[in-house]
């Protein structure tokens, strides 16, 4: 039971890291786009 809980914790942690990476990438892209839109 404890092993399943530990495994789930690991899966949640990896998922959160992947989502955080995706969000940071999209936020950075949005920021860069705003800058380029201002430049034109």
């Amino acid at each position: 039971m404890e092993t399943t809980a530990n495994a789930n914790l690991w899966i949640v942690a990896v998922n959160v890291v992947i989502w955080t990476g995706l969000f940071l990438y999209l936020l950075r892209l949005g920021k860069r786009l705003r800058e380029m839109e201002k430049e034109k």
Binding site: V12, N15, V16, W19, L26, L29, E37
Partner: protein, 222 residues
């Protein structure tokens, strides 16, 4: 404001992930390996987002045909690209789950077959866009094709898997056409569906702006 909304969406999706593993109970009905039922919270919303993309593309295509604004054509094409991305992700995650649950990556289950048909249908849309050089003609033909998707997509997504025998578990694909789960599972599933839909529109917005900039840059070079 937009940054705040993005972080709220991040928080929302983190809560969905935690909820999927520590709040929603595993679904026993219809699953040989109940622990694998958690894939529902990610795999199904991906398929829903793909459907949203194809329907949104049909709406933008209709708008293009009425107003002839290139922005609508671009929005439709981008919606299909991202819809395809989510559709392929749903198919891949489904195949991984099928390997665990059914013992094979691909089983020609009606749901698998119908999503493959949808992917091929919209793959042909992208091929059509590539094959026409004149921008206005390309936009007009692509819009007519995407509008055809308004009939094809709901049929393949919602009707085919429900009128034929499916290996998919009853709580998700059944003849009543409703998700049949307990309250906690439904809450996480719909919360995830909302999060994925928001992610879809965010990515759509970024890609449209990116393509608009690229087009403007190309026009300036000419």
């Amino acid at each position: 404001m937009k940054t705040l909304l993005a972080w709220l969406l991040w928080l929302w999706m983190c809560l969905v992930i935690v909820g999927a593993f520590f709040y929603a109970p595993v679904v026993l009905q219809g699953f040989r390996t109940p622990g694998s039922s958690r894939i529902v919270f990610f795999h199904v919303p991906m398929a829903w987002s793909s459907f949203i993309g194809f329907i949104a593309a049909a709406v933008w295509s209709l708008l293009y045909l009425i107003r002839r604004n290139p922005r609508h054509d671009r929005a439709a094409a981008v919606a299909i690209e991202i819809g395809l991305l989510f559709g392929i992700l749903a198919t891949l995650t489904g195949a991984m789950w099928a390997r665990i649950e059914w013992g094979a990556w691909w089983n020609w289950d009606p749901r698998q077959t119908s999503i493959l048909a949808v992917i091929l249908f919209y793959g042909a849309y992208l091929a059509l866009r590539q094959s026409v050089e004149e921008p206005e003609k390309r936009a007009r033909l692509a819009a007519a094709y995407a509008l055809l998707g308004l009939a094809v997509t709901p049929f393949l997504f919602w009707v085919v898997p429900r009128i034929t025998f499916s290996l998919h578990p009853d709580p998700v694909v059944n003849r009543s056409g409703k998700v049949d789960m307990d309250a906690a599972n439904e809450q996480v599933l719909f919360a995830s569906g909302f999060g994925f839909a928001a992610l879809f529109f965010w990515m759509q917005n970024l890609q449209c702006r990116l393509e608009a900039l690229a087009e403007r840059r190309a026009a300036l070079k000419e």
